[in-house]
Amino acid sequence: MLPAITADKLTKRFGDFTAVNQISFEVKKGEIFGFLGANGAGKTTAIRMLNGLSRPTSGQATVAGFDVYRNTEKIKRRIGYMSQKFSLYEDLTVRENIQFYGGIYGLPLKDIRHQMKQLLANLGMESYARTLVKSLPLGWRQKLAFSIAIMHRPEIVFLDEPTGGVDPITRRQFWEMIYKEANEGMTIFVTTHYMDEAEYCGRVSIMVDGRIAALDTPKALKEQFHADSMNDVFLNLTRPGRQHA
């Protein structure tokens, strides 16, 4: 089976500053791949190179089997993306947002109508279809944004800090949604800086200063660093003085 994502010495430089420095990894189909790192470690830049927003300076990468230099258009049809900032239109209603995003991915009207019903039922938001998104609580909005990002059934979905600022209960529900999709074969590429969330991932990579400092299952990483939790693993790796050793 072909891997969903491959990266080989992928690098992005902005002038003198190297944001992402020769990262290499593979993500299997249906895997939940956690992409961890402190703020400014290069997580967002890495995602942007994979989803076609940013052109790599050097190195190779494929997404869904397509090259990120040449086939961005083909990649775009096969991925979903939830950006770090909130990605729905606040001055549109729930229903209008669903129609818009469904529409720009070229879904037929009938499908959109069908999906909308199901999506609202799954979220328990049937009576909020005509509510403006800005009057929904943040947690609901994030769950809605995720549901909309995967409406066109992408092979891979990129989630850039999807749970920032969301309460623990909603985060839990959010991860349940992620698990459900992964079980159905969707590949999940997720960045976060909540270490408890890292435990939910199949494998985790930890970025420090543009490099991948560690990559394995949470269990193996904890053993390797003799730590009780991912939090300790992370601190161990990012602690000053430790990173250049």
Binding site: N51, G52, L53, S54, R55, E73, K76, R77, I79, Y81, M82, S83, Q84, K85, F86, S87, L88, Y89, E90, D91, L92, E96, Q99, F100, Y101, G103, I104, Y105, G106, L132, A149
Partner: protein
């Protein structure tokens, strides 16, 4: 195509959901036309003047009647002595005093050169000049009529004829100007804000990751604003026509086509600005400073380009608004057809293509 329609519908929701901005956008042209029309006006009606009639003759009475009948003037007071003039001005009651000399009638009948004195308060030079011009014209015409039949052979009189705007109404000047400003503001500022807003909110990233083509995003963004801008142009034209009697002598269709061309030029400028800026505030400031001010100051809307220093005259050539104002003045006032304005149209078209090319290039660069 379907995606474009979906995008336009979304953009239309944005415009209509933001009630306050919409109200400002639609209200602004009306307020501007009314302010320019009623407040900032170069023509003068019912200016208060005083008369010092030392001749007390039939002729001075006739002239006074003519002045009043013109509706430009209103007699405030009849003065008795020369010394009253100064006092009267100091009280600030009048703008001008007309002084008829004692032997006005006798001198004129005997063809002895004689003078009627016009004294104006030049603390406001524009008003003073205008009043003097109006009064001289009225008095001159009167004297000319009196002289008919027994005109002295060598006397030369000028006959001034103001073409296209015989009453020198300032509405003829500002309606084209206001249309230009509104179209510019609307198109450039609103599109640059609309695009940078998506960048600020983060939705632009999501759009760029989607299969939507950048050209669809740009076109979908601007089409609602083109329609809105044209609606505003129509409001200004209607107000100009029905409130101030501004004529449209040329083809309305031609006028609209030229408006669309100018709107597209401004829109592409707006897109260009948005590709260079990250926040709405910066986009707005740049639109205001880099587009609005030159449009108002250097387009010939308020200050005649001919009387500017050479450098500014050259700079004014790169301002799209200058050419657009020439075009709409020609179409509206002179009623000229396309064969007289093709050069200006071509220049505008060239600018539009240049800006569109530049903005599409820059928009794509952001993607890479």
């Amino acid at each position: 195509m379907k995606q474009l329609l979906i995008f336009i519908r979304k953009e239309t929701y944005h415009i209509f959901r933001d009630k306050r901005t919409l109200l400002i956008l639609l209200g602004m042209p009306m307020v501007q036309v009314l302010i320019f029309g009623f407040a900032i006006t170069n023509e003068i009606t019912n200016a208060r003047i005083a008369i010092l009639d030392q001749s007390k003759g039939e002729m001075s009475q006739d002239i006074i009647q003519r002045l009043v009948a013109s509706s430009y003037f209103e007699i405030d007071e009849n003065l008795r002595a020369v010394s009253d003039i100064e006092r009267h001005f100091r009280q600030g009651k009048t703008k001008m005093v007309v002084v008829f000399p004692p032997q006005l009638q006798e001198n004129l009948l005997r063809s002895v050169p004689t003078q009627i004195q016009l004294v104006a308060d030049a603390t406001d030079p524009n008003t003073a000049t205008t009043l003097i011009n109006y009064a001289s014209a009225i008095i001159g015409r009167y004297l000319q009529e009196q002289n008919q039949g027994n005109a002295p052979p060598l006397e030369i009189s000028t006959d001034v004829k103001m073409l296209y705007n015989p009453r020198l109404k300032s509405v003829y000047m500002f309606v084209p100007g206001v249309i230009t400003i509104i179209l510019m503001l609307m198109s450039a500022m609103m599109t640059s804000i609309a695009i940078t807003r998506e960048k600020e909110l983060g939705t632009m990233e999501v759009l760029l990751v989607s299969p939507l083509r950048p050209s669809t995003i740009v076109v979908g963004k601007v089409i609602p604003y083109i329609l809105l801008a044209l609606a505003m142009a129509a409001i200004v034209l209607l107000l100009g026509a029905f409130v101030f009697g501004m004529p449209i002598r040329g083809s309305l269709l031609l006028l609209m086509v030229e408006c669309v061309l100018f709107v597209i030029t401004s829109l592409s400028l707006g897109i260009l600005i948005s590709t260079r800026t990250e926040t709405q505030q910066v986009a707005m400031l740049i639109s205001l400073m880099a587009l609005m001010l030159p449009t108002i100051l250097l387009s010939g809307f308020i200050f005649p380009i001919e009387s500017m220093p050479k450098v500014l005259q050259v700079i004014s050539n790169i301002i799209p608004a200058k050419w657009f104002i020439i075009i709409i003045k020609n179409v509206m006032l002179r009623g000229t057809g396309f064969n007289f304005i093709w050069k200006e149209t071509l220049i505008l078209l060239g600018m539009a293509l240049f800006f569109i090319g530049a903005s599409i290039r820059n928009f794509k660069i952001r993607l890479a």
